[in-house]
């Protein structure tokens, strides 16, 4: 399903300007792209976990959301929205709601990979007709760049600082999309905002309009936390994909499919060197850390290729 970007510009903008996310924030680009996949006539209930996207888009007395919005806490966006979805079913059955409403949840990697994982897992397992979108910027950016289980190995964060003895975060990142795929829900996908937004749009549309629970894991670069100049947003995203740091795939009814394969797989170094959070890896004597990371990237990429029937 090809996307005509020009036509999409005629869709209503569901996230307005006037929010207070950072200049160049990847999260709002992701949120706009997902919301654009809603049919213009459909209503949405947007639930957001505490995090950058929430505290910046809904500051009393302003909301940047054109649809109904709810935030309740950090670790429970899955449960909160599943409650709203249950209410919709009941109220629709009882004739108190007429329109079609869709339920879309956003959480950062903190609210999704870590503190909110139980609530997310519960909501997915129960089969609510909702979409959970993780905008993954690889750390707790809202509270000042603390490490999360989505933070890449060796990244310098405020709770995994690159010191004289320990070179940044010691652990590899958690593979959340696979965990969600193991829930055997109808649709799981990993994507990013890139190119003409065909991939993210198509996946958001599938996620929203597939009956039952769906999960999207979306790379959302953070200029502040990753330490790059704001105009580089799209370039960094492309490097994440072309180095195979961020594989683009989907799992539809259990079938894995690779949606993007770089023409030339770039060394991970290319992705790392443009971000300040990895600058210590390029200091003398740290070459082996980059090599270690490359090995892990290659190993994971092979697994993805195998799952997707690409080898």
């Amino acid at each position: 399903m090809a996307v005509n970007l020009k036509e999409l510009t005629e869709r209503p903008e569901r996230l307005t300007g006037g929010h207070r996310l950072c200049a160049g924030c990847g999260a709002s680009v992701v949120a706009r792209a997902v919301m654009r996949a809603l049919k213009p006539e459909d209503k949405a209930v947007v639930g957001v976990a505490t995090g950058c996207l929430e505290v910046s888009t809904c500051i009393y007395p302003y909301t940047a959301w054109k649809d109904s919005f709810i935030h309740s806490a950090f670790e429970n966006a899955g449960a909160t929205v599943s409650g709203a979805e249950a209410a919709y079913k009941a109220m629709k059955r009882r004739g108190r709601v007429k329109d079609t409403h869709k339920f879309i949840t956003f959480g950062g990697d903190g609210g999704t990979y870590d503190i909110g994982l139980q609530s997310l897992s519960g909501a997915m397992e129960r089969g609510h007709d909702m979409v959970y979108v993780c905008y993954d910027n690889g750390a707790y950016m809202n509270t000042g760049i603390q490490r999360s289980s989505a933070t890449p190995k060796y990244a310098d964060t405020t709770t995994s600082p690159a010191g004289d003895v320990i070179p940044g975060k010691p652990q590899y990142r958690k593979d959340l999309a696979t965990i969600l795929a193991a829930h055997h829900i109808p649709y799981v996908a990993q994507t990013a905002p890139f190119g003409n937004f065909n991939d993210i749009h198509t996946k958001a549309e599938k996620a929203i309009y597939t009956e039952g629970p769906a999960f999207l894991n979306v790379l959302a670069p953070c200029p502040r936390g990753w330490r790059y100049d704001t105009p580089k947003l799209m370039e960094i995203t492309k490097l994440a994909m072309d180095t195979c740091f961020w594989p683009i795939f989907e799992v539809e009814n259990g079938n894995w499919k690779l949606n993007y394969k770089p023409k030339t797989k770039l060394p991970i170094e290319e992705y790392l060197k443009v971000q300040g959070r990895f600058s210590h890896l390029f200091e003398e004597g740290n070459r082996h850390l980059i090599e270690d990371m490359q090995k892990e990237i290659d190993r994971h990429w092979e697994i993805i290729l195998e799952r997707c029937g690409e080898k």
């Binding site: 510009t9 903008e13 929010h19 160049g24 888009t57 302003y62 054109k66 109904s68 003409n196």
Partner: protein
């Protein structure tokens, strides 16, 4: 500096008897009234004559500030543009200048 005035919420006098229960916001999308243009230190300038209206800049704007009408770009919403320059960088036709905000 942009000549548009922002409306800092701490200046608004909402007395408790008029406060919305639980801080509910009744007007969806009213953040449009909140101007973030003053955040800019750099500014993208759109050069209409070079623009091919390919729309690649449209989805990458974090602040929904690429103005489009009838599938054609018409300008930049400087009330909200924070000057991040993602549009500048993504444009294949080098339509934008990126200048220091004055």
């Amino acid at each position: 500096m942009a000549n548009k005035k922002t409306t800092p919420s701490h200046l608004e006098e909402i007395l408790w008897k008029d406060a919305a229960p639980g801080g509910v916001i009744y007007e969806a999308g009213n953040a449009e009234k909140y101007k973030t243009g003053a955040w800019r230190s750099m500014k993208p300038i759109w050069n209409e004559e070079k623009c091919k209206h390919c729309m690649l800049c449209f989805p990458v704007c974090p602040d929904s500030s690429i103005l489009v009408k009838d599938q054609k770009m018409t300008g930049i919403d400087y009330d909200h543009c924070k000057g991040c320059g993602v549009c500048v960088e993504v444009c294949p036709f080098k339509v934008f200048d990126y200048v220091v905000e004055e």
